[in-house]
Symmetry: C3
Subunit: 344 residues, 3 copies
């Protein structure tokens, strides 16, 4: 499923080869010569694909998945749909990581590297009236839209697409990304690097290949030294008209709707889905795998640990409606005052 502009796939591999690489088990009589062509997320996979179920939160997606085979624990294997071969493993995420390395063996060394001396790769396509610094790097197959400006030391990786009238400032690094029209990225921002995905493999961990992209809409602005990781399999998505300040962290698979505003130092954990026109004050943090409804405002320093379904303004940690937070604060102040009087 991975975009071939960014990733080089090996394979197909037989089920037998996959079982050997991953130590997973299948039911007696399963055809071990069946070939699988790729790995894919549960929600996007079809019969050619290998998926995994690790977080029980995604059991519904598992039941509905079109995947041809799927790593899963023994406990949940019975939930597999009839067309799917469950690959039973005590550590499905680890097994998936190993299988993904089989399909994408060079994933770990994809640092943007110019092996030619010129800064623009001959296979890149550059629009009209662009201004591209001779000190920037444009990788193989990249496409730069008309009138786009690329600053000194900016690194645009293989296959990256940047729309018209973009401004990519100095020392930005961008890989594995499709960027819309009129997007500005301030200095030092890092877009499209691998997400924070790894499976325990004692005494250490194994990196789970991050095979998604970053999709950035039109008229988005991204602040200095902000980091946006590419998806793990699904994509990380930034909607049209989003405004993102400096030093913000957006993890893999996060989705921002249209017109969201994120102040500095916000952090959004992996796979969280944000609606349209959500506003976040500085230093807000959100846990992973959550949904936040359109029209929500999060006051500065709010910590979100659960889904937020209703529009409105929230504050505190854990986040509550802001009026409730104000009551909590007032109570804490009064209670402390009273105690001090009693103690004094």
């Amino acid at each position: 499923m991975a975009d071939p502009r960014f990733f080089d796939r090996q394979g197909p591999f037989t089920l037998g080869a996959i079982l050997e690489a991953t130590e997973a088990r299948v039911a007696h009589g399963t055809d071990l010569n069946r070939r699988l062509e790729d790995v894919a997320p549960l929600s996007l996979a079809d019969e050619r694909h290998l998926a995994f179920l690790d977080n029980p939160k995604y059991t519904t997606a598992f039941r509905k998945s079109g995947a041809g085979a799927c790593f899963v624990t023994e406990a949940l294997a019975g939930e597999a749909p009839r067309h799917m071969v469950p690959l039973v493993s005590s550590a499905p995420y680890l097994a998936y990581a190993r299988a993904a390395h089989l399909f994408y063996p060079s994933i770990g060394t994809a640092a943007p590297v110019s092996l030619a001396s010129g800064n623009i790769h001959p296979s890149a396509s550059i629009g009209e009236d662009c201004r591209i610094s001779p000190l920037a790097t444009i990788g193989p197959g990249a496409e730069i839209g008309n009138r786009t400006v690329i600053g000194d030391g900016a690194r645009v990786g293989r296959g990256v697409v940047i729309g018209e009238a973009g401004v990519i400032h100095a020392n930005v690094t961008i890989s594995h990304a499709i960027v819309g029209v009129g997007v500005e990225i301030l200095p030092g921002a890092c877009i499209g690097q691998e997400g924070f995905g790894f499976a325990p493999n004692p005494p250490g961990y194994i990196t789970v290949p991050q095979l998604g992209r970053v999709l950035i809409g039109d008229n988005v602005s991204i602040g200095a030294n902000t980091t946006i990781d590419r998806g793990a399999g699904p994509d990380t998505v930034i909607g049209d008209d989003c405004r993102i300040d400096n030093l913000v962290q957006i993890a893999h698979n996060v989705t921002l709707g249209r017109g969201c505003v994120l102040a500095a130092q916000v952090g959004i954990s992996g796979s969280t889905k944000i609606g349209d026109y959500v506003v976040m004050g500085g230093q807000v943090g959100l846990a992973g795998h959550l949904a936040v409804a359109s029209g929500v405002t999060l006051a500065a320093r709010t910590g979100v640990t659960r889904e937020i379904r209703k529009p409105g303004t929230y504050a505190g940690f854990p986040a509550v409606p802001i009026t409730e937070w104000r009551t909590q604060i007032a109570h804490a102040k009064r209670a402390a005052k009273k105690r001090k009087e009693n103690d004094g």
Copy 2:
């Protein structure tokens, strides 16, 4: 008002042209041929300048402003001083953004770009005994003081001034800034990029041109990957002897007094004014448009939401004197213990 070392201005423009671009209205009989030369903040504007009043907090500055014309809502237009032409708009900030784009049409594409192959622009001035990496970029008109060191991949934009004995480490980006003597900037820091300023313009936003600078005093030290945005119109100011750690965010128009110490991951929102020798622990956050008195210490992770007038040590969120915070914490612990006993 914008420093011509950094910004290219168009104009002057007639009031008529400005009204056409911004959809603002003036009183019957106003001279539409009157020419305005520039945009400027309320506090710095004179009769040649166009300003705006959006945040009611600045109504006093509006009443005292010398601006020749000013975007303002109908409700506040009556507060305008006699010499000022109020330009009535339901969205004064949006109108200002449009006018500012008229005066500064190229603002959006000011990414530092070297169009020559050499790394030091011929119009830059380099002091004696400097060590400038051949892999750094020094933009047009920049001035580098004696004995200053500029590391590999550092980008020094057009017109930037760096004083004597400075050390600009590798991969720093600096634009729109005037830097004092003996300043050290650690790797990856981004100084002088545009602030987080935009006006709603449904379904998206319009960027408000950021026309100020960053003024950095003498003997300042700035940490790795820290970001300091340039002013929106006023300047962002860092006083002499300030010590700023890594990953700190300083927004547009912030002022730090002399000798302030900011630990890592502090965030200061726009237009907040900090006194002298203010000390902030790690991960402290301050809301915008506040004042903090000289001699204040903010314990790590303090969140400041209101003005602090008295020196002393503060903690918690919202910030309170640290003794009060300790009482709150003690109360919360005891109350939880009691509840647990009652529940148990």
Copy 3:
């Protein structure tokens, strides 16, 4: 004690010269011609070395130190072991800073600078099958292991060692570091810059030379725009198999054990020691000079202000066992609800 691969030392200096530079005092009859060869931390110093005691927390280390001489306040000078010459000062840290500048006068200007036009210094050693971008910089004496990849714009400073099969992504800056095998460093990370160390020297501060290194184990992964400062004298240490996400701050002298996992925007203050397999959620903060036991998990946004000796999961600020934190939260919610009912 500083590693000569990274630091150029002057001296030795006589006690007399050191006293003159630092305004410290010694007991009558002390031999002022005694020569000292270097500065060193209390715990590592021997009779050739000059140390300092500033934080009373380290008085035990002072009593046990092998240092030949040590800056110390009058109040604590009596605790010096017999072989040590106490150098009495009202500001021992300031005195140490001045002495360290005597031994390391060029410390302040160590920005990675390539003075040659080639990007790999002739004295660097490059392993087999490396892919090094022609747009990267490899400093004098650096050693790059076999099969390591170095991206565009990456800056590898003087003397840095990077083990086999490493991947250093674009625009990374790394100095004063020894890096293990199989380490991946994502774009924009800054490793090895000077820590946040300075002594008051009114009206400003004097930088305390940071003479340690960053030691990174095998199979470590470091996120985009993360910052890891080198030690002040001791080293900053990252154990094997650690996984560090984006925008994390690790201050000087911090030690991470094996297999720690740090989510995005974590900040660890100076000299804190973390055990093995410690897990930290996003935006966690730890104060300095603390110890955290192996097997501890810190929930997202936890603020640690004291030593944690027992494995388990902690949350809140100040950190408490997570069950206690949940009780606190539940209590705050119920109390606020009750107050609201009473007020309503």
